[in-house]
Every structure is written in C-alpha cells, then in structure tokens.
C-alpha cells in the first residue's frame, strides 16, 4: 500500500472534467513529479491532495486514511506555491514560525526549529528581513522552510520554480532534492518542465487530458515510453515515416532505404508506419561501414545546419522530406558539416521504435517542429 493513494479520482468544474478517473500510489519517502502540458490536470490533482479542491468522485488516502473530505488545515501537508505566498507582514522568522505557532509548539522548541530551518536553507542571516527585501529564489527557499517546519506528512510543490530565472531554477531544484533526501519526506511536485522532472524525481507521472499516461522512473519514462505521447513529450524525437516491407524481419522502407526495427510489425505488412529514434541514438557512420551489420541501420541525409547547445552539438539534416536531429557531445575533434553536405548516419535497430498510426503524440505532425529547426 502506498503512502499517498489516489483511487479513481475525478474532478469536474461545471461541464468541464479536468481530472478523469485517476489512480496513483506514491510510496513513503519518494519524490514523484506530475509532468504534463498546460491544462492536463496536474495542478488540480495536487490541489485535491492538498485539500483545496474536493474530488467530484473517488478517494484520496494518506497513510491509509481517507482524507477526501478533510479540510486542508487538518491534512498536515506542506505546500509550496508558484508565487511563494509568503505573508508580507511577517519577517522570514515569523513566516517560518507561523505553522508552529498555530500548532502551539512551545516557544523554545519553536525558536530552535526556526533556526534549524534557516540553516537548512542557508539563510541564517536573513531571519529579520521581510519578504519584499528578498529575491525570488530566497523567497521560495523561505516558503520551502515554512512548509517543512511543521514536519508535514508530505510536501506538495506546485511549479515552485517557474517564476525564477534559469540559473536560480537549476540551483534551487538541486536544493529541493537535497532537502527532500535529507528529511526523507514524501514529495509530490508539479511541473511542465521535463528536464526539471527528470533531474529531481524518483518517479514521474506523465499526465495528459486529466489522466496519467505513464508512471515510472525518469530512466524508464525516457527509454521505454509506454505511449507515443510520452515518447514524443519527453525529450526530442525523430519521426520517420515508411512502409513495412518484411514484417517478420522487422524491415521498413524509408524513402528507398531499408531499415530494421526490433518492434513487432506483425499485422503491418505493406502498411505505412512511423518509426521513432532519439537524436542521441544517431551517430556518424564509419566510412568502411557498408551497412551490413545486422544490428545497425544506416541512412544518408543532407546537412541543413548545426546548433550548439553547450555540452552537445545538434546536427539538423534532411532525410527525404523529413528533418532529423543528431546530437553529439561537443569536442574539438568534431567535424562540422556544411549545408548541403551528405551525411551518413547509423543507429542501432533497438533504438528504432514503432509509433502506431493514429496514436497521439505531444507535437502533432512531426517529432521535429519548424521552430526546433530554426
């Protein structure tokens, strides 16, 4: 049994059903992220766990107890909001002490706990400042300290980093993870940022249209996505259209080049299918490689442009009418192609996965959008 369990919860606002029949179990001490685009129901689900929304149907259990109708003040869950929500009339110390005062913690213990929290967020010298005298990152640290000062059963964070700039975001997300690990507190985190979710979570629940598409570790979600939507939502994806020429051997014709996949193609004989390959699964084929190796596919495209992404370099190339990405680690030995150069790339047959026709993907039309090519 999970520490937090959602049993077939549904939430409707008038005629709009935002969360549909959602079930989920979060183990004690784990860090789970709800990841999805706008309007997928992730914040509503979190707000139902917090008690700010009541499920239209279904049950929410915390430590095996049904809390679906329990008011938020009696759930003992810490909450961190997107816009900090610090009390402007109170200093940092008073903000952190607020929940402790409500819980009537003795003064001495309360002061000790506030000091402990200030040390935890590395803001020992900021106790007497008011929220408006702090930066966004500092305010969010205080909000985090305030939420965990009351020693809640679980910590809920609703897009806590989205109002911060990129550098602070990376720093603070590591801090959040470190604090979570240190305290061993069960944490549910809402974000639309896949990199954030991947870097911070033990488990990710990818959400779409009010339901969960897949729950798994970041490694599983990225490498073995359960649905086409998950495959295309997480990371960048090359989508290749072709016709099955030999279902038994997994052979597919892509613009006159035959490639192999380990996906089950039975029933697709002669039919048009879509294959997916991650950009990092592609590499420049060796000159002596004739493409005969049984576990490698080779295709030849035309270089369009090169994008520097810091530690990696993204090659944009055209294969037939399809744009493809290939990611390589940045190094001084890297030979950069010029626009129009012919590039022969290879990828393992098990890196090539079948995307069924008609299955929804996160970016309609193609895994590679026009903006990504620019």
């Amino acid at each position: 049994m999970g520490f937090i369990e959602l049993h077939e919860i549904t939430k409707s606002f008038a005629n709009n059903t935002v969360v549909k029949n959602l079930s989920l179990s979060v183990e004690e001490g784990k860090f789970l992220s709800f990841l999805g685009g706008s309007g997928c129901g992730k914040t509503t689900t979190l707000r139902m766990i917090a008690g700010f929304e009541t499920p239209t149907s279904g049950r929410i259990l915390i430590e095996g107890k049904d809390v679906s109708r329990v008011p938020p003040a009696r759930r003992n869950l810490g909450m961190v909001f997107q816009n900090y929500a610090l009390f402007p009339n109170m200093t940092v110390r008073k903000n952190i002490a607020f929940g402790l005062k409500i819980a009537k913690v003795p003064a001495q213990e309360m002061h000790a706990r506030v000091d402990e929290m200030l040390a935890l967020i590395h803001m020992e010298n900021y106790g007497d400042r008011y929220p408006h005298q702090l930066s966004g990152g500092q305010q969010q640290r205080v909000a985090l300290a305030r939420a965990i000062a009351v020693r809640p059963k679980a910590l809920l964070l609703d897009e806590p980093l989205s109002a911060l700039d990129a550098k602070i975001r990376v720093q603070l997300r590591d801090d959040i993870r470190n604090i979570q690990q240190e305290l061993g507190i069960t944490t549910i985190y809402v974000t639309h940022d896949q990199e954030e979710a991947m870097s911070i979570s033990d488990q990710i629940a990818v959400m779409r249209n009010g339901g969960i598409e897949q729950v798994g570790t970041p490694f599983d979600i990225y490498n073995t996505p359960a649905t086409s939507y998950v495959a295309s939502f997480i990371g960048t994806l090359n989508l290749l259209e072709g016709y099955v020429v030999d279902a038994a051997l997994g052979k597919v014709d892509l613009n006159g080049t035959t490639v192999r996949t380990v996906s089950d193609l039975r029933g697709f004989e002669g039919k048009k299918i879509r294959l997916t390959v991650r950009p990092e699964a592609l590499s420049v084929a060796r000159q002596d490689d004739a493409g005969s190796a049984s576990d490698v596919n080779n295709i030849t495209g035309t270089a369009e442009r090169v994008k520097f992404l810091g530690s990696t370099v993204r090659f944009v190339m055209k294969f037939g009418e399809t744009y493809m990405f290939m990611d390589r680690f940045n190094s001084s030995q890297l030979v950069l192609p010029k626009k129009g150069d012919s590039i022969r790339v290879s990828f393992a047959i098990d890196a090539c996965r079948l995307l069924p026709e008609g299955d929804a993907i996160a970016m309609p039309g193609s895994g590679v959008s026009d903006e990504m090519i620019q």
């Binding site: 700010f52 869950l77 909001f81 009390f87 402007p88 009339n89 409500i102």
Partner: protein, 265 residues
C-alpha cells in the same frame, strides 16, 4: 530628440502649475476672506468666533461619534463581505461593484426619504434613533470602504495567502486576524479616514433625519454669517487633508504596503 524631451518636460511643468493654480487659488481666496473678519486688518477673529460657539463643539463631537459608529458598522459589514466575495464568489464582484456605485447615483435626499418612510412605523420605528442615521451613513460610505478594502485584497493575492495559511494548519479566525487584516492595514486606514471625512461633512441625511450634526451646523453658519463659513470651510479642508496625511504617515511602517486612497494607489 533632446529638444523634444525638453519641450515635453516644459509642457508637463506648465500643466502641473496650471492644475495647482486651479486648485489653490480658490482655497487661498477663501482663506484670505476668512481672515477679513475685522475691518481693515487680517485676523483670525472668524476662527475665534467659530471656536467660541458651543454649537461648533457639540455638533462636531456628535458627528465624530456618528463617524466612529459608521466606521465600526461599515467595516464589520463590508470587510468580511469583500473577503467572501474575493475568495468564494468572485463572479459576484461586478454586481457588488455596481451596488457600490449606487450612493453616487441615488441622491442622499432619496435615501433619506426612503429610510424615513420604511422605518417610520412599528415594529421598525427607528426614525428617532441615531441608528438610522448611522445606517444611512454606512450606505453613503459603502463605495469608499468597499473599494479600499477590495483594492487591498486584490493587491495581497488573498486566495494564495489563505491557502498557504490553511496548509499550515490555520483556521479561519487565525487567517483573518494574523494574515488578512494585518496586510489590509493601509486599506482599512484609508477606508476609515475617508468614511470619517464623508460623515463629518454630510448634510442631507442629518438635516432630513433632524440630527444636530456638523454638516447642518456649517450650513446654518453659512446662511447667517459671512466670514465664519469661510473659516469653517478651511477647517473642514484641513481635517480632510489631515486624515489623508495620517493615512500616509501610518502606512509608512507597513512592509511592502502602498498607499491607497479610496481604492486608488
């Protein structure tokens, strides 16, 4: 480009000076007139007459008392209503805003006759009670109180602060007294002093409900005397400006607070 900027700056100063002259010349004229109580010299004799009249103090104290009741009743009624509307029924906000404009649209004389007619007979025979005057004053002060409080609530992000407090275990009373009201201090001060200024100078309701308030006293003095009304006008003006200055002064120490006068920053 540089010349254009200089011209714009000169024009801004020009219009500012015109505005200040438009505002201060009548005030200065009234003040100078109030000093001409003694023939041939400028003196404060008109002010001395005003202060020497026992009706001045009586009427002022009566109005002061009524303004305190109005402020208490108004805040007790309107603050929770504004909080409830902002938190639970935001869709009702336009309706309440429309209601808050009613005292500007409906003349006080209509309000007074309505109150007299409705509360003249048992079991609601309240015409002779000052409670009816206070009720009328609350209606007149409604726009000032509601708009001040509403602006204060909007600027503090009420919903999120309430939820943050709830998640920390706070009940409604704790939320109201520890989170909402301290952050509404500027708005409440603004509502209080605007109500005070409105009640102190109010004439129609006090006359029609036959109460010896400060407004009728000023009207009476204005009808019978020459220099004293000018002195009273200046005193009344000073009280209003004193109230506004007090709002500014008292809200100085509030962290992150912006001054709001009648819902305006």
């Amino acid at each position: 480009m540089k010349n254009g900027g200089a011209t714009r700056k000169a024009m801004s100063w020009f219009w500012l000076i015109i505005g200040l002259l438009y505002f201060f010349i009548p005030l200065l004229s009234t003040f100078l007139f109030s000093l001409k109580g003694k023939k041939g010299v400028l003196s404060f004799v008109a002010y001395q007459h005003v202060f020497a009249d026992p009706k001045f103090l009586q009427s002022f104290l009566f109005s002061l008392q009524m303004s305190v009741y109005t402020i208490i009743v108004g805040l007790v009624l309107i603050v929770p209503t504004a909080i409830l509307i902002n938190l639970k029924i935001p869709k009702a906000k336009p309706v309440i805003e429309l209601f808050s404009l009613m005292p500007f649209v409906i003349p006080p004389v209509v309000l007074a006759f309505g109150l007299i007619k409705f509360y003249a007979n048992p079991p609601l025979a309240l015409v002779s009670s000052p409670a009816l005057l206070v009720a009328g004053y609350v209606v007149i002060s409604f726009p000032y109180i509601y708009r001040s409080v509403d602006t204060g609530l909007t600027s503090m992000d009420l919903k999120v602060l309430t939820e943050a407090a709830q998640s920390l275990g706070a009940g409604w009373l704790s939320i109201l007294f520890k989170v909402i009201l301290p952050n509404l201090r500027t708005a409440l001060l603004s509502a209080t002093f605007l109500t005070f200024a409105t009640v102190i100078g109010e004439l129609t309701l006090a006359v029609l409900l036959a109460w010896p308030a400060f407004g009728p006293y000023m009207a009476h003095v204005g009808r019978d005397l020459a220099y004293e009304p000018a002195a009273l006008a200046i005193l009344s003006f000073m009280m209003t400006w004193g109230s506004i200055s007090l709002i500014q002064f008292l809200s100085r120490g509030i962290p992150g607070a912006k001054s709001e006068i009648g819902g305006l920053h």
